[in-house]
Amino acid sequence: MMLEKFAQRSRSLLAGAAMSALLVSPAFAVTPADTLVEGLAIDDIISMDPGEAFEFSTAEVTGNTYDLLVRLDLSDTSKVKGDLAQSWTVSDDGLTYTFKLKPGLKFASGNPITAADVAYTFERVVKLDKSPAFIIEQFGISGDNVADKAKAVDGTTFQFTVDKAYAPSFVLNCLSASVGSVVDSKLVKEHVAAVTPSADYKYDNDFGNAWLKTGYAGSGRFKLREWRANEAVVLERNDNYYGDKAKLARVIYRNMKESSAQRLALEAGDIDVARNLEPNDLDAIAKNADLTTTSAPKGTVYYISLNQKNPTLAKPEVRQAFKYLVDYDALASTILKGIGEIHQSFLPKGDLGAVDDNPFKLDVAKAKELLAKAGLPDGFKVTMDVRTGQPTTGMAESIQQTLGQAGIKLEIIPGDGKQTLTKYRARNHDIYIGNWGQDYFDPNSNAQTFASNPDNSDAGKSHTLAWRNSWDIPELTKETEAALLEKDAGKRADMYKDLQQKILDTSPFVIIHQQLEVAGLRKNLKGFALGPSFDTNFVGPVSKE
């Protein structure tokens, strides 16, 4: 009887399917020949204003739609090359940087690009004082002095003055961050909104921030046509671009979060590139004759950290024991396969001075020895906040299992990304697992957060990762600051090597791997490559056959 019912059911389902077949004819989807369609999780975007945006997805869009004074040199990422700037000089005292702009530059709007636009760009970034402003402000620049410190000398000469004789590599690297994207001052000024000055904001206008959140005032290879939150970003070719024009007329980023959904859409030809693939989908795509994959190491490291407010986790032996209780090899061959490379130092490969020897292996015996030395031969109980999603969940489960072998009972507290982050920022966690992407392409970005903590009190203003884990390190903080002022790039690299070694030896950070960004793509795409940072995933050279 049951079987009969089942058969009946399948028959009715089949009948239904047959009916749908009559209603819809099969058609193989193909994206238009002049349009690149990428499936990408773009739900992190909250603003398109380069003076405000600080998210990974925005960095990619900004990198393709705006130009900078200088840009990362992709052939050697420890250097920068001129973008809008044709050349630059540094004064003898190391304080003044003078940039000469290339001739005949134009914004997408048709307005000419002048040194006044560059000066306005810096002025609005500093006065708006949004998330990425510190990249500029750290050179001693504030709303009060920005007009003097970042000024147009003449139509094509821009001068930038810093407060200390920093390593020039550091200054230039910071200027290559997307916060330095040059905006069309004429266009922006047409869209400024009035603001009533207050104690927190003393200017009478918003420098076009409200408009630029969704608007566009750049000069890049592509111009931003539209951003629909959680749906899509649409770019169009900028025919006023100073260099090689983009090959395609349009690029569409479609918000797709699921790896499996991206894979289905890629296989069906509804998207040309899938950007958030997990290892099993990546495998399947690698086997498909119509598709191919590409990857690039990114400046993002995944780590777990132990809150030093927890007295057990504050014991040096316990900190060290955790580093021997991660099965790095097993992670590399499963959860991280194709999407991450084991990397245990805080500077990602590609940074000046990055160390790439990975001293730790899973060694339960050694960990037990360390725990016994700390007076915890039977282990202990502890919690870890884990934001749901891969690879963090898979990593957390693996670590839970290996910690168990040494008697440490780990309770995983799963949470939404925002939830775990709120807890982490308030220093209310025991253990946190997460990732850290550098804010700009310079070793100081990660050194500052992993190896400095100027004020460990709860009221401390500088919320570095060391602060979030209550790790009080006055000596390391000083060393981090010193590395900034070292002009000799070789010596500077050595200082960072030393810092990385100290972090390996003593820190509450167990750095596990460096992210490998992957993409699955249709074979008819030419010129698609992922860059070393999120703002160097350029779509300009892409074409279709």
Binding site: S20, D200, A268, D270
Partner: protein, 355 residues
């Protein structure tokens, strides 16, 4: 409506009007209380969940000083009660604030997202009703037969299998393997940035503009999610139809009709179904309301940019203005449809008509 009211209404027409008006008044009181409750619950849940709304404005990576300043700017340093008072004051004026995610006023976003949900739910309910009612009638007429069993099993599956799972299966089969339907979205990219909607109901808009290729494309995108919702509502509608019909078929007037020698077809479709139609209106309306608010998972699976997806995304991003606004709109629709079906019930019920 109570029995006493019913009798009074049956007696005098004007009294019936008064009764309806008074129940309308009562309904308004209930609706307003429900609103306030909804506002309060959503607001306070939104404030006590361990997610910092400042994150929504600034993202994950903002420096501490900026976070502090923004918290003050957002008024989050004020006492909760004061924050709630400000919120309600603005909400009464139709101002649900600005969504930090889209930078639009919440109402603007909702006006854009809602038609997508209505289009999907309407088509789903249509499919559910057109198939569900005859199936329910058949099951009732052939009570205990194989058809009855099948209808019940279909209903059971629709009830018990999670809709997102069916959605994923549907996508794998009809989209990925067979390529019968289009990819999760409302339109293909080719059309999405060339087609200008008028009402927001894409099928209707395309037809009105005579763009039949867009119509066909919109259809290829909506048919699978609508069918799934339709299946879900079919399960409910067929089960309720069956039980209403069984109830009607046991009535004396059916026996009388049979005795008069009326054809079985006329008895079933003409008499029994007509009387069962009254409670059916409520069932279909409720099912419709259910699809409107319950399409969250379907919209997520099918990347359908409706109100469900809007609220889901907002929740995930701690965009509390959007969550509150969306919840209140859904609540209003639910309350509205309840009111409407209640009124329809009164208008159609022969017992209230008798007066």
């Amino acid at each position: 409506m109570s029995v006493a009211e019913n009798q009074a209404a049956a007696g005098r027409g004007s009294a019936r009007a008064v009764a309806i008006l008074s129940s309308l008044g009562r309904f308004l009181v209930i609706a307003i209380t429900t609103y306030l409750g909804l506002l309060a619950v959503t607001f306070f849940i939104g404030r006590v969940i361990p997610i910092d709304p400042v994150l929504a404005v600034l993202g994950d990576r903002a420096p501490a000083a900026v976070v502090e300043r923004t918290r003050r700017e957002m008024g989050l340093d004020l006492p909760l009660i004061q924050q709630f008072y400000i919120y309600v004051k603005n909400a009464i004026h139709g101002d649900f604030g600005t969504s930090v995610l889209t930078t639009n006023p919440v109402m603007t976003d909702i006006r854009r997202a809602f038609p997508a949900t209505i289009e999907l739910a309407t088509l789903g309910t249509l499919i559910g009703a057109v198939l569900g009612v005859p199936l329910g009638v058949l099951a009732a007429v052939r009570r205990g037969s194989l058809i009855d069993q099948i209808v019940r099993i279909i209903g059971l599956i629709g009830y018990s299998v999670p809709i997102f799972w069916l959605g994923l299966l549907g996508l794998v089969l009809f989209y990925a393997k067979l390529q019968w339907v289009a990819f999760p979205a409302r339109l293909d990219v080719v059309y999405e940035y060339t087609f200008t909607p008028i009402t927001g109901f894409y099928l209707l808009d395309a037809a009105m503009q005579g763009q039949w290729d867009v119509f066909y494309d919109a259809y290829r995108h909506i048919i699978l999610p609508a069918s799934l919702l339709g299946y879900f509502s079919l399960a409910y509608i067929s089960r309720m139809t069956r039980s209403f019909m069984l109830n009607e078929l046991a009535q004396e007037y059916i026996v009388a009709a049979r005795a008069k020698g009326l054809s079985e077809t006329r008895i079933i479709w003409g008499h029994a179904l007509r009387n069962a139609a009254v409670p059916m209106v409520t069932v279909i309306a409720l099912s419709y309301a259910g699809l409107l608010e319950g399409s969250v998972l379907t919209e997520t699976v099918f990347s359908w940019p409706g109100i469900g997806l809007y609220i889901t995304n907002s929740l995930q991003n701690a965009d509390m203005n959007a969550v509150l606004g969306g919840t209140i709109i859904i609540g209003s629709v639910f309350i509205g449809i309840n009111l409407l079906s209640d009124l329809l019930y009164r208008l159609l019920d022969p017992r209230t008509k008798a007066g």
